[in-house]
């Protein structure tokens, strides 16, 4: 697979000749300096964007020639039907919704019948059972990211994408959030693709790859 952007004077090639296979249940860290194209790769893998060339499969379905709605359908649903969860560097909680409502929203979107109970349950698991009705601005960064984790796992995804999940957090909080994420990932047997420039975080994954100069290398 390869990817580039159209810029004022030609195309800017970001990713070249990428070959990557992620096994079910495995956790993979994508390492690389800032601006190396990690987020771009993650976006492509998750089907948030289409590559300029090559092919991408998710759950055995080619997604590079699917339209947006087709790829969206793959992301929706729970484990049996695929299902994808996300955790972002900037948390991406909706400021107008409470913690509970933030977790509930994707469940409701996919028509889950016991969305409310499930959201409460998951918020309890990430240690925020007593903060259900708080708005994001009333929560600390670490707490917000835990809400985001609850939101990602509540949908029971087969695949979790995390883009610098600890990037906006201090060391201790980051470590705590990472620990929570890995323990939930193992417990649920979720496939994890983690993008980070933090070697310590990457070390906790089963496997590590490195992007450099637009190319991908396996690393120890």
């Amino acid at each position: 697979m390869e990817h580039g952007f159209t810029v004022p004077h030609g195309t800017l090639s970001i990713l070249r000749d990428i070959h990557l296979r992620v096994k079910a249940g495995e956790s993979l860290a994508v390492l690389g300096p800032s601006g190396s194209g990690k987020s771009t790769l993650l976006g492509l893998l998750a089907g948030l964007d289409r590559p300029s060339g090559g092919r991408i499969e998710m759950f055995g379905t080619r997604i590079d020639d699917l339209d947006e709605d087709g790829r969206a359908a793959l992301r929706a649903g729970d484990r049996d039907a695929g299902g994808v969860g996300f955790v972002f560097q900037s948390f991406q909680l909706l400021p107008a919704l409470t913690a509970l409502e933030n977790v509930r929203l994707p469940l409701e979107l996919s028509g889950n019948r016991d969305a409310d109970a499930r959201a409460r349950d998951w918020l309890g698991r990430v240690g925020l059972g007593d903060r259900l009705d708080h708005f994001p601005r009333q929560l600390s960064g670490g707490e917000q990211q835990r809400v985001a984790l609850a939101r990602a796992f509540a949908g029971d995804p087969a695949l979790l994408f995390a883009d610098e999940p600890t990037g906006n957090l201090d060391r201790a909080t980051g470590a705590h959030v990472a620990e929570l994420m890995f323990s939930l990932q193992r417990e649920r047997g979720v496939t994890l693709v983690l993008v980070t420039h933090d070697e310590n975080l990457a070390a906790q994954c089963d496997r590590r790859v490195r992007i450099d100069g637009g190319e991908l290398r396996e690393s120890a």
């Binding site: 948030l48 947006e68 359908a73 909706l94 929203l105 994707p106 979107l109």
Partner: protein, 832 residues
């Protein structure tokens, strides 16, 4: 279902967001303006409908300027119909040195045949319904008469030569529709008392009616009998004769108010568009996340459409509540104009309001909201990717389409709609352009501000330049809102004052009509006694116009509605040997002693309305005798002179031997309390009309109507304020970041507040200045072009308008800045 539940939940959150609140407010104002007008006009309309059916107080009726034949009673009885007679005439009542023009109505015992009378023992007492007329010796009068003369129930009322006891307060009469916009209060009396008062003679300006009612066949038969017997001047009235001129006046008023309300809708639309733009920005994250969670574009679209619908529904409810309130207040204001209470409004107004909301949302908000569907899911990784913003042209086109639809709908026709739309958009663009120029010119001011110690001034003025686009919108909107109010509240009063200045102090204020030939000399003597130097009497002959250039007027299609009216009403003809005072010759020749006689001189506008000019031939019918004449000259009349003037003046040779009455006018000093009562005693059939009082009453009438219009324009001003708020909302994040930065640099709250204050004072002051300029310009144009008056420069308005604008907007603005300042600077810096 799933979408509905989520939409419902999110809607509740939406309604807490600042931009959604502004959107709801703006939409509610638009709905309130349009529905308020709808409610109000439906009430007036229903009042007229109701009166139409009761208009006659009978099933069939004949109206004539003379008493109707005595044998008709028998004819009606023969067909098994009940019958009654009424006569209405103006007269003046005196009491305690005060006088009041009243509309007297004498009725036979069986009146009313249809509908009912309502009266009470005291002005505020309980209403009693009756279907029979006052007995002999009694009068029932309207409260207004009691108030104006200081009379009470039980007092006796001098009427002509007689006196009648005031027995009841008249509250409602079914056939009042005939005199709906009645200025003079009603005095209802028994037919039997007519002779004793001596108020009526053959020359009186009275309208007689014969009424009959019964079963349909009888009515039809009687109609047939009457049709054969009708003579000139006798008019058969059916239930369908519901004052057509009032109906068309109402329709015009309805259109005008409806279009006026669209001014508020236009401004509200601007606020809606701003709020929707902000909504799109703020909702981009949610849309991107939902895409990430696997929602399809159409799901997102549905969700947002449902929410928009919900937002609209809330706005409609609030707007209708406001409209209901407004119509209640305005209805109260207008109630005095109508002889009856106004019926409750129809729900059609609510439908009109709701539809306005839908169209406004579709035109001004939908383009932005539709874009949310296109938010790329990648936004969750790259914040700079948002929903592509709507192109300005696209937004303008859809807004113009929506506005066009609304205008077309309110105007009811394309041409008027086109003008109104051009007017609305032209005004808005004109104001925006002027605002832009003012701001552009204001750059110099900012540069010229002292560099040190005046930081707030420099920064505040600079902020205006940095946010110039929004400032232009705010100034344009607010200036529009203020200008219409100024035009009605200040310029109108100025124009009225200017007009009053043109009327000479000693201009005649009393008119005497219905003076019989033999009364002229004794009356002249009486007036001389009263110190009136040279009372002039003018002859007046009642006639009907029958032909123009040998063509019956019924077959002529008049270009102007006024021509139609002029042609069909009773004509007051006069004659003069000398060219009259306060007239100007516009063309043709005045007759000399040698001219044969069959010549007539017309007032120019009268001639224009009829579509005739010099040399054309007119034929009149004077009490059954035809009279022909050629138009020999055209005159312009200075009506402000308050002299007796006539549209139609004959060569004396043609008219002098026709039966007629005389008229005179004179100036009576306000201190003279004896002349009019004496006149009334000695000449009971002469009707005195107090012009001063009449003008006063007409003014109250106009003031009330203007108050209603002002109420509608009040919504425009409120909508302008909402535009200001919406603009504030739109830049709130920017402003928050700016303030946070300033504070991180060490600016104090006071400094920040001062800078913001300068900004708002400038916006409000410039709006006021523009509004004053526009109102003044409009006033000057009206004065010069329409009314021929000198329009004085109103310095007060030029000073007050900017001050009021500055005060209003700085208050509104500072309330909002206070909230931004209350947030910790950190939050402002983090906000995206």
């Amino acid at each position: 279902m799933k979408q509905l539940a989520i939409a419902w939940q999110l809607l509740r959150r939406d309604l807490r967001a600042g931009e959604v609140r502004v959107l709801v407010l703006a939409l509610a104002v638009a709905v309130a303006a349009v529905a308020g007008v709808g409610f109000l006009t439906s009430r007036v309309d229903a009042a007229m409908q109701r009166q139409a059916s009761e208009l006659l107080a009978a099933d069939v009726s004949v109206e004539a300027p003379r008493e109707l034949p005595a044998d008709w009673d028998e004819l009606a009885s023969d067909e098994g119909l009940r019958h009654a007679r009424i006569v209405r005439f103006p007269t003046v009542v005196f009491h305690d040195g005060r006088s009041q023009l009243v509309q007297a109505k004498a009725v036979t015992a069986d009146y009313p045949l249809r509908g009912e009378l309502r009266h009470s023992a005291t002005p505020d007492g309980e209403e009693v319904v009756s279907t029979s007329a006052p007995p002999a010796g009694e009068v029932w009068v309207e409260r207004r008469l009691l108030d104006s003369l200081g009379l009470r129930v039980g007092d006796s009322l001098p009427l002509g030569r007689g006196e009648l006891r005031i027995a009841r307060v008249l509250r409602y009469e079914p056939d009042r529709g005939a005199d709906m916009f009645q200025i003079a209060p009603r005095v209802l009396m028994a037919w039997a008392d007519l002779d004793a008062t001596g108020l009526l003679n053959a020359y009186s300006r009275a309208r007689y009616r014969f009424l009959a009612a019964g079963d349909e066949a009888g009515v039809a038969a009687f109609r047939a009998v009457l049709t054969d017997r009708l003579q000139a001047g006798q008019r058969l009235l059916g239930i369908e004769d519901a004052r057509p001129e009032f109906r068309s006046a109402l329709e015009r008023a309805q259109r005008f108010l409806g279009l006026a309300a669209l001014g508020a809708v236009l401004l509200a639309g601007a606020a809606v568009a701003l709020a929707a733009h902000r909504y799109r920005e703020r909702q981009s994250d949610m849309a991107a996340l939902m895409r990430c969670f696997g929602s399809r574009q159409n799901d997102i679209l549905t969700l947002y459409l449902l929410r928009l619908f919900g937002i609209g529904a809330v706005a409609v409810l609030i707007g209708l509540a406001l409209a209901w309130l407004a119509q209640a207040v305005l209805g109260e204001v207008l109630a005095g104009l109508f002889a009856t209470t106004l019926p409750p409004p129809s729900w059609r107004g609510a439908g009109v309001g709701a539809l306005t909301a839908v169209v406004t949302l579709a035109g001004f908000a939908l383009p932005s909201v539709l874009r949310l569907r296109h938010v790329p899911p990648l936004r969750v990784l790259r914040r700079d990717l948002g929903a592509p913003s709507v192109s300005t042209w696209m937004l303008l086109a859809s807004a113009a389409a929506a506005l066009g639809l609304l205008v077309r709908w309110q105007a009811g026709e394309w041409q008027l709609a086109g003008y109104a739309l051009l007017g609305l958009i032209g005004t808005a663009l004109g104001f925006a352009l002027l605002a832009w120029l003012l701001l552009w010119a204001g750059r110099g001011l900012q540069r010229g501000a002292p560099a040190t110690g005046w930081w707030a001034l420099r920064f505040g003025l600079g902020a205006l330049q940095r946010r110039r686009g929004l400032a232009v919108l705010q100034i344009g909107a607010f200036a529009t809102g203020m200008a219409v109010i100024l035009l009605l509240a200040v310029v109108r009063v100025d124009l009225l004052a200017a007009w009053r200045d043109t009327v000479a102090d000693d201009a005649p204020n009393q008119f005497l009509i219905n003076v019989q030939p033999e009364e002229v000399e004794p009356l002249r003597a009486l007036l001389r006694d009263a110190g009136i130097a040279d009372p002039r009497f003018y002859p007046m002959v009642r006639a009907r116009l029958t032909h123009l250039n040998d063509k019956p007027i019924d077959e002529i299609a008049f270009a102007e509605e006024r021509g139609e009216r002029f042609a069909h009403r009773d004509q007051n003809l006069s004659y003069a040997a000398e060219f009259p005072r306060a007239n100007r010759m516009l063309g043709g020749l005045w007759w000399g002693p040698d001219d044969a006689g069959h010549q007539v001189s017309l007032e120019k506008r009268f001639a224009d309305s009829l579509g005739i000019g010099i040399g054309d031939k007119m034929e009149f019918d004077i009490a059954g005798t035809p009279l022909q004449a050629h138009v020999m000259s055209l005159r312009e009349v200075d009506w402000d002179s308050f002299q007796v003037n006539f549209f139609v003046l004959f060569n004396p040779k043609a008219l002098a031997d026709q039966p007629g009455t005389w008229v005179t006018s004179f100036h009576l000093s306000a201190a003279d309390h004896i002349t009019l009562p004496r006149l009334n005693r000695e000449f009971p059939t002469v009707t005195a009309i107090d012009v001063g009082a009449l003008i006063g009453q007409v003014r109250t009438l106009i003031d009330r109507a203007v108050l209603a219009v002002e109420g509608v324009f009040g919504f425009t001003l409120i909508a302008a304020l909402v535009v200001f708020l919406a603009a504030f909302q739109a830049e709130r994040a920017d402003r928050g970041r700016e303030i946070a930065l300033l504070r991180s640099f060490g600016a104090t709250r006071v400094q920040v507040r001062r800078a913001a204050m300068i900004e708002f004072l400038m916006i409000g002051g410039l709006s006021g200045l523009l509004a004053a300029a526009a109102a003044w310009g409009a006033g000057w144009l009206l004065a010069a072009r329409v009314f021929n008056l000198d329009y004085a420069f109103n310095a007060w308005m030029w000073i007050a308008a900017p001050l009021i604008g500055a005060a209003l907007l700085s208050t509104a603005g500072m309330l909002n800045v206070r909230r931004v300042l209350a947030e910790p600077p950190l939050q402002g810096l983090q906000a995206s």
